[in-house]
């Protein structure tokens, strides 16, 4: 009984073909899909070049920024050196002024003593 049923099933369930029109459309669509996938892969293959361009641009921008920062640091360093020199000059002038004042005071004190006050006069 089972064998008979199985043979009837096999006979009834033999594969059937879709319509020719469907087959043509199917082949055309799959081929188009494969072409578009291939194009997408080609575009994907160009990405490394785009990445290379971006890498070059990034390196160039980084160098420019580094040069700018270096320039600013140098300017600040020179400005600090100028300020230090100015402070040193001011300090030297202050010391010189103090010494001159001291010398002036000594001369002034000496000139204020009368001549007869000098011993042996």
């Amino acid at each position: 009984m089972n064998e008979e049923l199985e043979s009837r099933l096999r006979a009834a369930l033999r594969p059937v073909a879709p319509s020719d029109e469907f087959t043509r459309d199917l082949i055309a669509r799959v081929a188009a899909d494969q072409r578009s996938s291939s194009d997408a892969r080609s575009a994907h293959g160009r990405r490394p070049r785009a990445r290379g361009w971006w890498l070059s641009a990034s390196v160039a921008a980084s160098l420019l920024v580094a040069a700018g920062v270096q320039h600013q640091l140098q300017e600040r360093h020179e400005r600090e050196r100028g300020l230090e020199a100015r402070r040193e000059v001011i300090e030297a002038l202050r010391v010189t002024s103090q010494k001159l004042n001291l010398a002036y005071e000594v001369i002034k004190n000496q000139s204020s003593f009368p001549a007869d006050d000098k011993p042996g006069a």
Binding site: M1, N2, E4, L5, E6, R8, L9, R10, A11, A12, L13, R14, P15, V16, A17, P18, F22, T23, L26, I27, R29, V30, A31, D33, Q34, S37, S38
Partner: protein
């Protein structure tokens, strides 16, 4: 799959993988009957079967690089078609819908076969669960043994055997007298 599909050579597959449109077309022609028939008998309407067949071959075109041999290709097509059909049936609200008479698809290649047999087998097929239907189709349409069916459907072999036994029991109980429903279409 049918013999033409089985004979599809690894060389042609290689050409299709390399992007040769003619080889890809030959591949589709060799395997479409099996994929379409599986889809048609699983889903029940020509429109759904054509949509599923197209989806399967679209997916294949994107996965050709992973197909290592023509045997692997046949296995892959059966597996993807079966799983997609089962998923689709499970998503549908009424999977047991019986199509109108004019929508009953051709079950057999025998054009002069008894239409009553087609109709009856169609109803019987639709009365089975999606998994049981897939098991039955892989067994009697694709002529796979239970081990290969289990591999194709990712199903324990005992479940496959159980589906087959139950399905045949149901079919045997509901099947009409074979004499008037002979599929060969011979004149009385």
């Amino acid at each position: 799959m049918n013999e033409a599909a089985q004979d599809f050579s690894d060389e042609q597959l290689g050409k299709a993988r390399a992007g040769e449109a003619a080889a890809l077309a030959a591949l589709i022609r060799a395997h479409q009957r099996s994929v379409y028939s599986l889809a048609l008998r699983m889903l029940g309407t020509r429109d759904l079967a054509e949509d599923l067949t197209q989806d399967v071959f679209m997916q294949l075109s994107g996965n050709l690089k992973s197909i290592v041999s023509s045997t692997h290709l046949v296995f892959w097509l059966r597996k993807v078609t079966s799983h997609r059909a089962i998923d689709q049936l499970r998503r549908r609200a009424r999977i047991e819908t019986i199509p109108l008479d004019e929508e009953i698809p051709q079950l057999s290649t025998v054009d002069d076969g008894d239409p009553l047999l087609h109709r009856h087998l169609w109803r019987l097929l639709l009365s089975l669960s999606p998994s049981a239907r897939a098991v039955l189709l892989l067994r009697y349409q694709e002529d796979l043994d239970p081990i290969d069916i289990a591999r194709t459907l990712d199903m324990p072999i005992n479940t496959v055997k159980s589906h087959l036994k139950r399905s045949l029991e149901v079919l045997r109980q509901k099947a009409p007298n074979p004499e008037p429903l002979r599929c060969e279409g011979k004149s009385p």
